[in-house]
C-alpha cells in the first residue's frame, strides 16, 4: 500500500482532536479559577483543589469509580473469557440462546437495563450500595468481553486443544498454554471495553446504588446543578491519573523494545499486570489511609448517613464534625423532596434527612420518622422563633429547622423597574416585554405557588378549578414567554446577569445579590411560600445517637455559620442570622437574606396527597408543553 499524504485528512484529524479535547482543556483551566463562575476566569487559585481534598466525599467517589471499574473489569474479563470458551463448545441451541441473552444489555437502552437491575435488587431486598453497583457493572461488562473474545475463539482451530491434550497436556494446560494465548488480543480489548464502560457509567450506577455510595458520575449529576468548580478539580485529577497510567503502559514497552526488540511482548505481558497490581495497591492504600482515624473520640469509627439537598452544607462543617466526633459522615444528595421520599419509602436507611415542611408532614403522617429525644438536644433555644412550632410539626417533636426562606423574583435592576414588579407581581412572567428573558424554577410546588398567587388564590387550595386555572396560567407562560425551566443553574446565570427575571429561592437570591450588585429580589404582595427545611431522623436510622449529635452541631453557631455563609440560605440560628445580616456581615443589606414577616398572604405549604398527585402530573404536562412548544 502506498502511503499518500492527505492534507484534508490531517485537518480533519486536528479539528476532531480539538473538538474532543477542548472541553477537557476548558475544565482543566477553570479548575484553577479563583471565582465560582464557569465562564469568566477571575484569577488563579488552588482553592477548589483544597476544597476537593477536604471533601472526603469527592475523594471517595474517585476511589469508588476506579475501585468498581478495576474489580468489574478483572472479574468480567475472567468470567467472560471462561464463559466464551465454554459456550464455544456448547450445543448450538444453548450458544444461540445465550447470544440473545447477552444482547440484552447491549441492545437495550441503558436506562431499561438500569431499571431492570434496580427492580431486581429491590425485589430480592439486596441493600443498595457498593456491592449492587459492582454486581451490575460485572453483569453489563461480561457480554462486552464475550463479544470481543468470541470471534477470536471462533477463528481458532477446534482441534487445537485436543492436539495439546493428545500431546500430554492436562485440560488446564491446554486452556492456559494453548487457547488463552491465542485469544489474548480479544481478551485485552474486551477488558479495555469493560473498563471504559465501567469507568464512564452513569445511568446504571445511578439506579442501583444507595447508602451514600456514589461514583464520580453520580456525584457530578447531583452536584452539577449548582456550580461547584471542585468538579473541575477532581476531573483534572482524573485526567492526570489516566494520562500517567497510559504513558507508563504505552511508553515503557516502547523504551524496552528499543533495547531488546524481541522481548517486547514478554515485557508488555509483564507490564500490564504490574501496572494493574500497582493501581490496586495504591487504591487500597488510599482507602485504608483515608479511613484511618486516631485517638479516642465519642463516636470513633461510627458512620453517619446524611441525605441532604445538593450543595447545602458549608465548606468545613462536615470535616469539623468528623474531627470532633471521630465519626465518618457519608452524604448523599437529592434535588427534590419527591426524589428523597421515594428512596426513604423504599427502605433506604439514613440517619439524617433534610426535607422541606410539607414533606416532613407527609413523612410524619406516613410514620417514617422517629421522635427526637429532646434531652439530647441543646440547640432549640438558639433557633429563631420564626421557624419553631410551624404547622407541619407544631411542637418540633420530629424536626429541627436547618434553613428557611421564601420564594420570590430575582431581577436585573438595569432591565426591570421595581415599580413594574409592584404593579404586576408574578404576572410579570406573562409580560411579553420579557419574552425569552425569564427563568422558571423546575419545582412543581413553587411553580404552582407562583401561578396560584398570581391569580390571587391560596397556594394550598384544594379547589380543582383553581388548580386548573393555575395550570393554564403556567401553560400560557411556557407557550408565549419562551422561559428556560432550570433548577440551580439559575444561580450562576443570574449572578452573571444573563436574564432579566427569574423565580428563585430567597437563599439563592442572597448568593446572587452578593455576587452581582445589579440584582434585586422582590416578593410580590400577593404572597409567597414561607418554607423551611429541617433535620429529621427516620425510623430506620442506624445511628440515632450520632444523628442527635449532628443536629446539635449543625444548629450551633459554628456549624450554622459555616453553612449559612457558604450556601447563602437563611440560618435557623438566630445569632448566625444576626451576624450575617448585621453590620460587616457577609449579607449586610441584602433583603433576600431575611425572610418577610407580617404579610397575611404568605403561607406555609400543607401536604395533601390528592392535590400533590394532581399538581405533580400537571407540572409534568407543563414541562412537556414547554418542550413541545419549541
Amino acid at each position: 500500500m502506498k502511503k499518500r499524504k492527505h492534507p484534508a485528512g490531517h485537518l480533519l484529524m486536528v479539528l476532531m482532536l480539538v473538538f474532543f479535547y477542548l472541553p477537557i482543556l476548558y475544565m482543566v483551566i477553570f479548575s484553577f479559577n479563583d471565582g465560582k463562575s464557569l465562564t469568566s476566569f477571575t484569577g488563579f487559585s488552588l482553592r477548589w483543589y483544597r476544597h476537593m481534598l477536604d471533601s472526603g466525599d469527592m475523594m471517595e467517589a474517585l476511589y469508588t469509580t476506579f475501585g468498581v471499574a478495576i474489580a468489574a473489569t478483572f472479574i468480567s474479563t475472567v468470567a467472560g473469557t471462561i464463559a466464551a470458551i465454554g459456550l464455544s463448545r456448547s450445543k448450538k441451541l444453548v450458544r444461540d440462546l445465550m447470544e440473545q441473552v447477552n444482547n440484552l444489555p447491549i441492545m437495550n437502552p441503558e436506562i431499561v437495563t438500569a431499571i431492570g437491575f434496580m427492580l431486581l435488587f429491590i425485589t430480592f431486598k439486596v441493600e443498595k450500595g457498593y456491592v449492587t453497583m459492582l454486581l451490575a457493572h460485572i453483569a453489563f461488562c461480561i457480554p462486552y468481553v464475550m463479544l470481543s473474545v468470541m470471534p477470536k475463539i471462533r477463528s481458532l482451530d477446534p482441534n487445537l486443544a485436543d492436539a495439546a491434550m493428545d500431546l500430554g497436556a492436562t485440560p488446564w494446560q491446554a486452556l492456559t498454554k494453548v487457547i488463552v494465548p491465542q485469544i489474548t488480543p480479544g481478551i485485552v480489548s474486551g477488558a479495555l471495553i469493560a473498563f471504559t464502560m465501567s469507568v464512564d457509567d452513569f445511568i446504571i450506577s445511578y439506579f442501583v446504588t444507595g447508602g451514600g455510595v456514589k461514583n464520580l458520575s453520580i456525584m457530578v449529576y447531583t452536584m452539577s446543578k449548582r456550580v461547584n468548580p471542585s468538579i473541575n478539580a477532581i476531573s483534572t485529577l482524573v485526567v492526570v491519573i489516566i494520562t500517567v497510567v497510559l504513558v507508563i503502559v504505552n511508553l515503557a514497552p516502547l523504551l524496552a523494545a528499543k533495547r531488546e526488540e524481541k522481548e517486547e511482548i514478554g515485557k508488555r505481558r509483564l507490564l500490564i499486570p504490574t501496572v494493574s497490581v500497582l493501581c490496586v495497591l495504591a487504591l487500597v492504600a488510599g482507602v485504608i489511609y483515608h479511613r484511618q482515624e486516631n485517638s479516642r473520640r465519642p463516636f470513633e469509627g461510627q458512620t453517619l448517613h446524611v441525605y441532604n439537598w445538593g450543595e447545602y452544607t458549608g465548606e468545613n462543617i462536615l470535616g469539623d464534625f468528623e474531627e470532633l466526633t471521630g465519626a465518618k459522615v457519608v452524604v448523599e444528595n437529592f434535588d427534590s423532596n419527591e426524589q428523597m421520599y421515594i428512596k426513604v419509602a423504599n427502605g433506604e436507611a439514613y440517619d439524617i434527612l433534610v426535607p422541606s415542611d410539607y414533606m416532613i408532614q407527609r413523612l410524619i403522617s406516613e410514620d417514617f420518622l422517629q421522635k427526637l429525644d429532646h434531652s439530647k438536644l441543646d440547640c432549640m433555644n438558639k433557633l429563631t422563633e420564626s421557624v419553631k412550632g410551624l404547622p407541619y410539626d407544631s411542637k418540633n417533636e420530629y424536626s429541627v429547622p436547618y434553613f428557611w426562606g421564601s420564594v420570590g423574583i430575582v431581577y436585573d435592576k438595569t432591565k426591570v423597574d421595581e415599580k413594574e414588579l409592584e404593579k404586576e407581581g408574578y404576572n410579570i412572567f406573562l409580560d411579553e416585554k420579557y419574552k425569552g428573558d425569564i427563568y422558571l424554577y423546575d419545582s412543581e410546588r413553587d411553580s404552582f405557588m407562583m401561578a396560584l398567587k398570581a391569580l390571587g388564590y391560596s397556594m394550598n387550595t384544594e379547589d380543582e378549578r383553581e388548580i386548573e386555572e393555575a395550570f393554564n396560567w403556567l401553560v400560557q407562560c411556557v407557550q408565549t414567554m419562551e422561559p428556560e425551566i432550570v433548577t440551580d443553574e439559575i444561580i450562576d446565570n443570574m449572578a452573571q446577569g444573563r436574564k432579566a427575571l427569574g423565580l428563585i429561592y430567597s437563599g439563592d437570591a442572597t448568593y446572587v445579590m452578593a455576587e452581582n450588585e445589579n440584582m434585586g429580589f422582590y416578593l410580590p404582595k400577593t404572597g409567597t411560600n414561607l418554607w423551611s427545611d429541617a433535620m429529621v431522623i427516620p425510623k430506620n436510622a442506624k445511628n440515632p445517637e450520632l444523628a442527635h449529635a449532628f443536629i446539635n452541631y449543625a444548629s450551633d453557631y459554628d456549624g450554622a455559620y459555616d453553612n449559612s455563609s457558604y450556601v447563602g440560605y437563611t440560618s435557623a440560628n438566630q445569632e448566625v442570622m444576626d451576624t450575617l445580616s448585621g453590620e460587616g456581615g457577609d449579607f449586610e443589606g441584602i433583603n433576600a437574606y431575611i425572610p418577610r414577616s407580617g404579610n397575611d398572604m404568605d403561607e406555609v405549604f400543607v401536604y395533601n396527597e390528592d392535590v400533590k398527585k394532581i399538581i405533580s402530573n400537571l407540572w409534568s404536562r407543563v414541562k412537556i408543553a414547554a418542550s413541545n412548544a419549541d
Binding site: 472541553p23 469509580t65 471462561i82 456448547s90 436506562i111 458520575s217 412537556i624 413541545n628
Partner: protein, 278 residues
C-alpha cells in the same frame, strides 16, 4: 472437545438471574397495578393505553427517536472519514490516534458534558468566538442544538472506533487487487472498502443510536428543564413521580421500539453481505 462446555454453566445461571430476570420484572411491573403484593395481584394494560392515547407522550417518543437519528447521521458523517484516515496512517500513528480518541471516554461522560455548559453558556468561550463573526448573541445553551452537540460529542468515539476496527480487519491486498483490475480510488472505495467496513458501521450505529435515544442527562444538562426526552420521562417516573408501573411500561415500549429498529438495521447489513450471516 466437549469437556470445556461445562465452563459455560455458571455463566448461564448468572445470566438468567442478572440479565433475564430484570427484564421479566420490568415486564411484570408494566402490566400490574401499583401497590401489588404477592398475595393480591391485579393485571392491567392501562399503562400502555395511557402512553399511546396521549399525544404529548408520543411527541416525546418521536422527538427522542428523531434526535437520536440526527446524532447517528452526524456521527457517521464525521466518524467515517476520521476512522478512514486513521486506518490509513502508519501503525504507530494509528495507535496514538486511537488512544487519543479513547482517552476522553475514560474521563467521565458527565464531567465532559458539564464542561460544555461553561463553553456554551452566555458569555462563554464559544459565544465569544462567534462574536468575532458578529454572531455573539446566538443562544447556544439550552437549545436542541446543544443537546445534539452533547450527544455527538459523547458518542462519536464509539462510531470512530467501530469503523476503524472494521477497516483494520480488511485485507489490504483486496484494495491492490481492485486497483490492479482497473478500478479508480472512488470505485475501490465504493465497491470494496465501504461494503467491507459495513459491519463496523452497523456496530457504530448501534453504539451511537442506543445511548442517544435513552440518554437523559445530556438533555437535562444541556437542554435545560424544558427539554424532555423519553429517557427523562422514564427517569422522572422512577425518581421523582414514583409511578414505577407506568415507568416500566414506558421502558418496555422503548425497548420494543429499539429491538425493532435494530432488527431492521441488522437485516440491511445481512442483505448487503449477500444474505450471509457473520
Amino acid at each position: 472437545m466437549k469437556r470445556f462446555s461445562q465452563l459455560a454453566v455458571p455463566y448461564v445461571v448468572w445470566a438468567v438471574i442478572m440479565l433475564v430476570l430484570p427484564m421479566v420484572l420490568i415486564a411484570l411491573y408494566s402490566i400490574t397495578e401499583p401497590g401489588n403484593s404477592i398475595v393480591s395481584f391485579s393485571m392491567t394494560i392501562d399503562h400502555y393505553v395511557r402512553f399511546f392515547t396521549d399525544p404529548d407522550f408520543l411527541i416525546i417518543l418521536w422527538r427522542s427517536l428523531w434526535i437520536a437519528v440526527k446524532t447517528t447521521i452526524i456521527c457517521l458523517l464525521l466518524g467515517y472519514p476520521v476512522a478512514y484516515f486513521i486506518s490509513r496512517s502508519s501503525e504507530r500513528m494509528q495507535n496514538v490516534l486511537v488512544l487519543a480518541i479513547t482517552i476522553p471516554m475514560w474521563i467521565n461522560m458527565l464531567v465532559r458534558t458539564y464542561a460544555w455548559i461553561g463553553l456554551l453558556s452566555e458569555g462563554g468561550f464559544i459565544q465569544k468566538i462567534l462574536g468575532v463573526f458578529g454572531l455573539g448573541n446566538t443562544e447556544l445553551l439550552y437549545t436542541e442544538g446543544a443537546v445534539l452537540l452533547g450527544m455527538v460529542y459523547n458518542f462519536l468515539p464509539f462510531m470512530i472506533l467501530q469503523i476503524h476496527t472494521a477497516l483494520c480487519k480488511m485485507d489490504m491486498s483486496l484494495l491492490e487487487a481492485s486497483a490492479d483490475l482497473g478500478a479508480n480510488p472512488v470505485q475501490t472505495f465504493a465497491r470494496v472498502t465501504l461494503p467491507l467496513s459495513l459491519p463496523g458501521v452497523v456496530n457504530g450505529i448501534t453504539l451511537v443510536f442506543l445511548p442517544a435515544v435513552s440518554s437523559f442527562f445530556i438533555p437535562k444538562l444541556l437542554g435545560g428543564g424544558q427539554y424532555f426526552l423519553i429517557g427523562n420521562l422514564i427517569e422522572n417516573q422512577f425518581i421523582t413521580v414514583g409511578e414505577w408501573n407506568f415507568g416500566s411500561a414506558i421502558s418496555m415500549i422503548m425497548a420494543a421500539v429499539m429491538m425493532l429498529l435494530m432488527m431492521v438495521v441488522r437485516r440491511l447489513e445481512i442483505k448487503n453481505q449477500g444474505g450471509k450471516e457473520e
